[in-house]
């Protein structure tokens, strides 16, 4: 760390319009606490209930995604990184809200997610609804712990296509950032 104080970090958060930021281990307890704080905070902003719940919901989906991924890596016996350590932010962009999360991901695990995002970004609201209903009906292979609905649900709640960025860490790993504008 270059400086001891967090002034620079605070300035960045301010200029980026970030209202809430958390970096650290995503335990279930933290997700609950943060989720609750997010809800209370948004309630003070005089926004519509549906928008508030959309922001909250995307926040929960993103943080639980990071947590589920970390659990998966743990099951695989991969302890190379602390996969449970992630970053999540909620920010404001004009009259819209941004929910974004980032975590370390093994490159080979990303292919499926990226293909899925590209596919979803081509769909309009009705297409997303159809994809959602189809997935609701799909039988989950045993051993899977996720519903496969997360990205579709976020896409339905977002007002713009979901965006992502990938920064390489080394040959095997990268840092994945997902961004939803609501």
């Amino acid at each position: 760390m270059k400086t001891m104080d967090l002034f620079d970090m605070r300035e960045t958060l301010k200029t980026e319009g970030i209202l809430i930021c958390f970096a650290g281990p995503f335990s279930h307890g933290i997700i609950e606490e943060l989720g609750n704080a997010v809800r209370r905070y948004l309630e003070t902003m005089q926004m519509k209930k549906a928008l508030l719940m959309d922001v909250f919901s995307v926040f929960i989906e993103q943080t639980q995604n990071v947590r589920n991924y970390a659990q998966k890596k743990l099951t695989e016996g991969n302890t190379e990184y602390d996969f449970n350590c992630g970053i999540v932010i909620i920010g404001r962009k004009g009259n819209k809200y941004v929910v974004s999360s980032g975590n370390i991901v093994e490159k080979k695990d990303l292919e499926e997610a990226i293909a899925r995002l590209a596919e979803l970004n081509r769909l309009d609201k009705d297409g997303l609804k159809a994809a959602y209903r189809e997935q609701m009906r799909k039988v989950i292979p045993s051993g899977k712990t996720t519903s496969g609905l997360g990205f579709i649900d976020m896409s339905r709640k977002a007002s713009e296509p979901l965006q992502y960025s990938i920064r390489e860490i080394n040959e095997t790993y990268c840092f994945f950032t997902l961004r939803a504008v609501i």
Partner: protein
Amino acid sequence: MEKLFLPGTRSTPEISFDGTSGVLTISGESYPENSFEYYKPILAWVSRFAQTHTGPATLNINLNYLNTGSIKSLMDILDYFEEMHGRGGDVVIYWHYDDENDRALETAEDFKAEVTFPFNIIAIKSEAK
């Protein structure tokens, strides 16, 4: 059939299932740490209920929020009701949602489209909550 009661927490709903009266109520929030694990015993109960229950059956849903993992499990519960309905059972669902949250109405409609038994969507006034 024995009752099933699970108190609600910040991220799990209150489950109040009465096998005798046939009234099953789910209320609160639903975003458990592991949705499938959480709903496993609940689904096991509903499965036995669907096989053995003879009188009318009512499912009350009063959820503020459910994550995508819970959606899948809730669909499974509704499928058991659909099964009872298919065998000529007298089943009904009352799905309550906050009238200020049109997104919650959309969720209710997503579920309604998947089943054929009587499905009532009821708006609850926000301030009454």
